[in-house]
């Protein structure tokens, strides 16, 4: 038996390397992704990530849908930050079509985006606490998260994929009754959030797991191009809401939340303090909601052109490139989600840490794997052309899987 075991170990590596595979199916991961950590005892000496298990071909699928249908498809890129995807797309297409969106619609979009940020960050708080084995915080934060889910359901009729956005405006208006229940919910959430901030900064046992773990310096964050709360926890001033205000952020300016330590604790603190900022923005928007129509007329075809749009998703900078060829369908929609920008930091930071710290470091970037999975082909062999037709790609795919099955 001993012989078989050592043979097995050697078959997997040239020397006596001990590799711990995490994923594609693993309790720590809520979505399929594959990580390989080489460990010596409990210390990680090398890390490797393989992306692409949940690639769904959404970018390609947009080319078969018209501008309106694409909106609903793109909203389904992410189940947590669905509204921000639709917002980015709508803002981009509206810019392309030269349509002026009524101010009330922009304010409501921003309001829903902030509610979504609250629900996303509270979800993350629970998941990250669970990764650290602190299930009580997990249960409580998810219980309180139901408040914001109820608000979103009351406002739009849906808990996720709210489909609040239309090209040229929004679907749902906010009346006094909804405004009151939002304010009531926010008051409750603010009180609870203050409690959670106290827990993650004072609970001695929890701090042992987060303080000084996975430290990313400001320089590292800049070099690895980290985005969103992950970067802000390392002191990088990068927040699209502040740098390049979109939607209603010019009227309701957001304040940037920063921490300097760059460890997992700082990521907790930054995200929780962002919740307070969201509460403030929501109150401000509700108090000063502009009066206007909810939507502007929108053309069916859009004149040829291309544009980029950047928005601040709960996980960081979300980037859209949209190209029109004058028809009623987009020629190209390119999406870059924040997780892919932060993924390199996980691989980098994991090295030198204990295996037990890995789930927290991974959860620290708030990964959303299905959003970031891309079909990427890197090949310089066989004189393959740079531009592939659909048919060529199809043939390549068939050949790839045939070759792998043999």
């Amino acid at each position: 038996m001993t012989n078989r075991k050592s043979e097995n170990m050697q078959a997997n590596g040239k020397s006596e390397r001990f590799i711990v595979p995490i994923g594609p199916q693993h309790p720590a991961l809520k979505e399929p992704e594959h990580f390989r950590f080489t460990v010596e005892g409990e210390i990680v000496t090398n890390a490797y990530v393989r992306l692409g298990y949940a690639h769904r071909g959404i970018e390609k699928a947009t080319e078969q849908r018209n501008w309106v249908q694409t909106n609903y498809l793109l909203e389904r890129i992410c189940g947590i930050c669905s509204h921000i995807h639709s917002t980015a797309y709508c803002l981009g297409v509206e810019k392309l079509a030269g349509v002026q969106v009524p101010p009330r619609a922009l304010a409501i979009r921003t309001l829903v985006a902030e509610l979504e940020r609250i629900h996303s960050h509270m979800l993350w708080l629970g998941v990250a606490a669970h990764e650290a084995g602190f299930d009580t915080l997990f249960m409580y934060s998810w219980r309180d998260r139901e408040t914001v889910m109820d608000i979103l359901e009351q406002l739009t009729g849906n808990r996720v994929n709210y489909s609040a956005n239309l090209l040229g405006g929004v679907k749902y208006d906010i009346d006094q009754e909804i405004a009151d229940s939002i304010l009531e919910g926010i008051d409750f959430l603010e009180e609870r959030t203050r409690h959670y901030l106290e827990i993650v900064t004072t609970d001695a046992l929890f701090l042992q797991r987060t303080r000084g773990v996975g430290v990313m310096t400001k320089t590292q964050a800049e070099v690895m191009r980290a985005v969103g709360p992950t970067a802000r926890a390392s002191g990088v001033t990068r927040d699209i809401r502040v740098e390049a205000p979109y939607a209603a952020y010019p009227q309701f300016p957001a304040r940037i939340t920063l921490a300097t330590n760059g460890d997992v604790e700082a990521r907790f603190v930054v995200r929780i303090e962002e919740l307070f900022e969201s509460h403030r923005l929501i109150r401000e928007i509700l108090a000063n909601l502009p009066e206007s129509d909810l939507r502007a007329r929108f053309p069916r075809r859009i004149k040829p052109g291309e544009t980029i749009i950047r928005v601040e998703a709960p996980r960081g900078e979300l980037f859209y490139f949209i190209k029109s060829n004058g028809s009623d369908k987009p020629e190209r929609v390119k999406v870059r989600t924040p997780t892919i920008c932060n993924m390199s930091s996980v691989v980098k930071l994991a090295v030198g840490h204990q295996l037990a710290d890995i789930p927290l470091i991974l959860a620290g970037i708030d990964p959303c794997f299905s959003c970031n999975d891309r079909g990427v082909i890197i090949t310089r062999r066989q004189n393959k052309p740079d531009l592939w037709t659909w048919e060529q790609l199809r043939q390549y795919g068939i050949g790839y899987y045939d070759g792998n099955n043999k």
Binding site: N8, G133, L205, Q208, L355
Partner: protein, 307 residues
């Protein structure tokens, strides 16, 4: 007659059926309490039993590359260790079935058998999660075992005997928690380490190593380990209640005192985040041993002064 009595002791009371049922009941109380502390509803009363029956009915998958005899035998040995230990403990407030000078040490070793079997079972397979889990299980064993044992020897020193029945006769009505509070704390937390309950659940941290040493176990093997752990929880609670909380002279005291301890354990489980394995070891050797040695010092000096 002798044989029949022995068989009853082994199969029904205090070991065997009684202990298994009590273990499942206490497991339910533990789960229900934690659920309530965490604002959840929690399982219904027969859930642990239903899990047991379900797992017993399931196929047991024996992975490739294991020693089959060991793989199948270790769960049986682990459960047998727990059940045997029950024979020397004043279960349900009744005097223990067997007793001899030094049975305290034997009981403590029988309780460690479960952890040892789990460590062996984990390292028997080729699964990486099992191997890391087994390493952590054994590392943890070496960290809590000494303080836990020393903490339970405190009452033995006070009673001037290594025989459980004599110690319980001494502690009956004497609340040693008042004179040996440090020993009580170490014993209770040591029991949590022994049972791999949070915050000492690094050996089975699901977000890192799936189910640790138990990853490859399914069906019967898994349920036997599980039952062994439940039995160990009951025995551990009984020992601590008997030694520190004024004895368990009758079944009512037994139930009340062990449930009170379980309440404290469930509260601690839901309050604390998981420790890393190096932090667990550090905690036990830096504070656990120190506390228990201070307790011993007080005890010895105290006895000198009194006598």
């Amino acid at each position: 007659m002798e044989i029949i009595n022995n068989l009853i002791a082994l199969l029904f009371f205090p070991a065997g059926l009684f202990l298994l049922v009590l273990g499942l009941a206490y497991e339910w109380v533990d789960r229900k309490l934690i659920a309530q502390f965490q604002n959840r509803i929690g399982p219904r009363w027969f859930q642990p039993l239903a899990d047991t029956v379900k797992l017993l009915a399931k196929e047991e998958v024996v992975p490739e590359g294991v020693n089959v005899a060991l793989f199948k035998g270790l769960p049986v040995v682990a459960l047998a260790g727990g059940l045997t230990a029950a024979l020397y403990v004043p279960m349900a407030g009744l005097p223990s079935t067997y007793s001899f000078q030094g049975d305290l040490i034997v009981t403590l070793y029988l309780l460690s058998l479960l952890t040892l079997c789990m460590g062996l079972a984990g390292s028997n397979t080729m699964d990486r999660f099992s191997l890391i889990g087994a390493t952590r299980t054994l590392t943890q064993l070496f960290s809590y075992e000494a303080p836990f044992m020393l903490a339970l020897l405190g009452p033995a020193m006070a009673a001037r005997s290594w025989q459980i029945s004599e110690i319980t006769a001494y502690t009956d009505g004497r609340w040693l928690i008042l004179t040996q509070p440090l020993g009580f704390i170490v014993a209770l937390i040591g029991l949590m380490g022994k049972l791999e309950l949070p915050p000492f659940d690094a050996p089975e941290a699901e977000t890192e190593i799936v189910a640790g040493a138990m990853t490859e176990y399914s069906g019967k093997g898994l349920v036997l380990f599980h039952l062994g752990k439940s039995a160990e929880m009951v025995i551990g609670l009984t020992l601590i209640a008997a030694f520190y909380l004024g004895g368990v002279a009758n079944p009512l005291y037994f139930i009340l005192k062990t449930l009170a301890l379980l309440f404290i354990i469930a509260g601690l489980q839901s309050l604390l985040a998981r420790l890393r394995i190096d932090q667990t070891v550090g905690l036990w050797w830096r504070y656990g041993v120190l506390l228990v040695l201070v307790q011993w010092l007080i005890l010895i000096v105290g006895q000198r002064i009194i006598l």
